[in-house]
């Protein structure tokens, strides 16, 4: 990998994210290998340099003044963490690809990554990793190996013959540690060394556990019956190995932080966790909504987190949470709880209801079910608010789990409402408060130019030097005053006011704040259809198209044009059934949206990623029967586009501009 590729690489971005919260006076300089740019300028010059290579290809130079050599270790930990984050990002993308085909991997990752207790107990986490691996097929045996210097030690095993520690180069594990890639042996005829536990095995699969670019262990499964392991098993093993590596890495970072006796370092690492895991990227492309976010970390890490979930069907979810307690454990708990929200927000609704996905109250109940026992065990609880925006319906639906009350500025009456479930006669407890509790959701209608504000208690409980709280009324006043600002500017202003209010007293809590502004124009009209991959469904799609065209005011499209839409939509729908669902069962949702400018069809499916837009142009000489579908769609529509969100559905969009008035019939 050349240094050119490094520039503005995901690695560089990750490293910058980790560097940005460092205090400005920290005398650490970070330079890329080619030397022509500082990722971070050293404030007082530097006379000690150290090269570090995160995973071989990532050459980064760290620079510190003489006498601060200890900082080089810290810098190296950051580089390693950035490299790890890149691996994880890649892994996460890989996971989304797999969503359609290998659900086992996904549920395994969530099961492990989402359990806060496991993040703090690596041995139990590795046991769970192994359990997921051997659950792939009845009769599987398996072991997790860790390399300790020149020796290989079995960390966990599920085997009739317990594996024993051995030389690191020995046998199949030794081989994959050297080659650093997985191996499947189906017709086992000896020659792989003679590990005692594998003597009766007829087939073996093994994958390396790679952390910080080094093979540090392996996950091995084997079966005494003949048969065939395939790439699905390898996919699962690879995913589980990455998960195990993450757990080990987190444990290493944590121990490093604790053993390093430097609270400062803990703050930095916690801050990194917060930046990377707890705070989602602010989405910029939500139709009909504008989002602004602000997260200002306090001197100590807090467990504030937020996340955003697109459903691809016109609804959009926000979760904002706050873990009681501080420090890295709180941050890890926050990350775990957030990952549970992510999991249940992106899975489908109960019993066959594929679109829309589960209701907010169902999502919160599922998360509660999943995390409460552990939170109670850990003696922690989490307040959160989960809100869904349905722009087409003009409805916000939220579930409050003991969080601070959100605010709603109603533009038509210029008034701020406090969204309090307590006022509605309900009390929703924080997650981890009680095993048995019910979460209810509340509907709040909204109109154009309304603003919602979600925030953590750091905002309302900021204190002036005299001891008075900033309070919710002051937040509401600031919201009303800033009603015409863009969402991002609004949250910046509000937090600025809080900081001025606290002045010399200082802010002790994280300030976390999300503003959601509703667009000024009413959303387009829409109709929806859901069809299964079965005989007759393409005809239903065409009838739907006819109905839609008949509903558009002024019926701007004539019969001939409608017939063309029939063709375009049939092509797009059969593409989904044939390719995203591979000819198997599956649901296709079609949304038609129209306004004065355009008619837009959105096709959503939960099949495997498939991008027809990338199809090759067809041949017209009669030599090939297929490949015309996409060409036809392009001929008929003004725009044909494909997107797929993280873990989300495939979305095809077909757009036709409405004819100009004088051309309309």
């Amino acid at each position: 990998v050349s240094t050119l590729a490094l520039r503005d690489s995901p690695f560089q971005r990750a490293l910058q994210t980790l560097l940005s919260p460092l205090p400005p006076h920290l005398p650490l300089g970070v330079r890329l290998r080619d030397g022509d740019g500082w990722l971070r300028q050293p404030p007082h010059g530097a006379d000690q340099n150290r090269m570090c290579s995160g995973n071989g290809s990532l050459g980064v130079t760290l620079c510190v003044p003489a006498g601060e050599e200890a900082l080089l270790d810290f810098g190296e930990a950051l580089v390693a963490a950035a490299s790890r984050i890149c691996d994880l990002e890649e892994q996460r993308e890989g996971l989304c690809e797999e969503l359609g085909t290998a659900y086992e991997s996904l549920s395994a990752v969530f099961d492990i990554g989402g359990d806060p207790a496991l993040l703090l107990a690596p041995a139990r986490a590795l046991a769970k990793v192994l359990d997921h691996a051997v659950a792939f097929e009845p009769g599987l045996e398996g072991a997790v190996w860790l390399a300790r210097g020149e020796a290989l030690e079995p960390a966990q095993w599920r085997a009739a013959e317990p594996p024993v520690a051995r030389d690191a180069g020995f046998g199949i594990v030794g081989r994959i540690l050297r080659e650093r890639r997985g191996v499947i042996v189906n017709a086992r005829g000896g020659g792989w060394g003679d590990e005692p536990e594998l003597r009766g095995a007829r087939r073996v699969a093994a994958a390396p556990l790679i952390a910080r670019g080094e093979a540090v262990g392996a996950l091995v499964v084997w079966h005494a019956e003949p048969g065939s392991f395939d790439s699905r098993l390898m996919g699962l093993l690879t995913t589980l190995c990455s998960q195990a590596a993450l757990i080990l890495e987190q444990e290493r970072l944590r121990q490093e932080a604790v053993a390093g006796e430097k609270l400062r370092r803990e703050i930095e690492i916690g801050g990194n966790i917060q930046q990377v895991l707890l705070l989602g990227r602010t989405p910029a492309d939500v139709t009909g909504l504008e989002i602004g976010t602000l997260a200002r970390a306090s001197r100590q890490v807090d467990g504030d987190f937020f996340g955003f979930f697109h459903h691809g069907n016109g609804t959009f979810d926000i979760v904002l949470g706050d873990v009681m307690g501080k420090g890295i454990p709180a941050a890890l708990v926050g990350a775990a709880v957030k990952s549970q929200f992510q999991r249940f927000a992106s899975t489908t609704g109960p019993a066959g209801r594929k679109f829309p996905c589960a209701e907010p109250a169902e999502i919160v109940a599922a998360v509660h079910e999943q995390v409460s026992a552990t939170l109670i065990e850990l003696g922690r609880f989490v307040t959160a608010i989960y809100a869904r925006f349905d722009v087409a319906k003009g409805m916000m639906t939220y579930v409050d789990c003991g969080h601070t009350d959100a605010l709603h500025h109603r533009s038509d009456v210029d008034k701020v409402d406090l969204l309090s479930v307590k006022a509605a006669g309900r009390t929703n407890l924080p997650l981890g408060f009680a095993r048995e509790t019910r979460y209810e959701q509340v509907n709040v209608p909204f109109g154009p130019k309304d603003t919602f504000l979600f925030y953590s208690d750091g905002l309302t409980e900021a204190r002036a030097p005299g001891g008075t709280f900033f309070g919710v009324d002051a937040v509401a006043t600031a919201l009303a005053r800033g009603r015409d600002l863009r969402a991002q500017l609004l949250v910046d202003r509000i937090c600025g006011e809080v900081e001025r209010f606290s002045a010399s007293a200082g802010i002790h809590d994280d300030l976390t704040c999300i503003a959601v502004k509703i667009a000024g124009t009413p959303p387009p009209a829409r109709l929806c259809l859901e069809v299964e991959n079965e005989r007759g469904s393409l005809a239903r799609v065409r009838r739907f198209v006819t109905d839609v065209c008949a509903q558009i005011p002024g019926t701007p499209f004539g019969d001939e044009q409608v017939a063309e839409f029939h063709l375009a939509l049939t092509e797009a729908a059969s593409n989904v059934f044939d390719h995203a669902y591979g000819g198997g069962p599956g649901t296709l949702r079609i949304e038609a949206l129209w306004g004065p400018e355009e008619l837009r069809f959105r096709l959503l499916d939960r099949g495997k990623p498939f991008n027809p837009v990338a199809a090759k142009p067809p041949r017209f000489d009669g030599s090939v029967d297929g490949g015309f579908g996409v060409y036809i769609i392009r001929q008929i529509m003004d725009l044909f586009d494909y997107t797929r969100g993280e873990g989300g559905p495939n979305v095809l969009e077909l757009v036709k501009r409405l004819p100009k008035k004088d051309g309309a019939r």
Binding site: L538, A563, L567, T570, P618, F620, G622, I632
Partner: protein, 118 residues
């Protein structure tokens, strides 16, 4: 796929009875035609009842055309919608299209008289 077949002189005439020929019928139609058209020199596909054909349906027709060695297959009775689809994928350049079954049969007769039979 519902259809009736008959032989007029040496020409095999297939009349489709379904309203649509789309991706969900195309495979079946193709199998049916492979059986029926095997060894035939000259055929007419009457689409007068068909209101909708998609690219898979067109693909099945192309397969019929190839089965017959590139010539000898004619289409007739195309509705404006079907004609549009045929033109979109430029199939009108690959085979003869006639207004109705009578014109198609007449064209075959005159081609035969001129010795142009494929």
């Amino acid at each position: 796929v519902k259809h009736v077949s008959e032989t007029v002189g040496s020409t095999h005439v297939v009349t489709l009875l379904d309203e649509a020929l789309d991706a969900q019928d195309a495979k079946e139609f193709r199998r049916q035609m492979e059986r029926e058209l095997a060894g035939k020199e000259c055929a007419v596909l009457d689409l007068a009842q068909v209101r909708f054909v998609d690219s898979s349906g067109l693909g099945a027709i192309l397969a019929c055309l190839r089965l017959m060695g590139g010539g000898g297959l004619r289409l007739c009775g195309l509705s404006p919608e079907v004609r549009k689809a045929v033109e979109l994928v430029r199939m009108d350049r690959l085979l003869d299209v006639h207004a109705n079954r009578e014109e198609a049969l007449a064209a075959i007769r005159s081609d035969a008289a001129l010795g142009l039979e494929a």
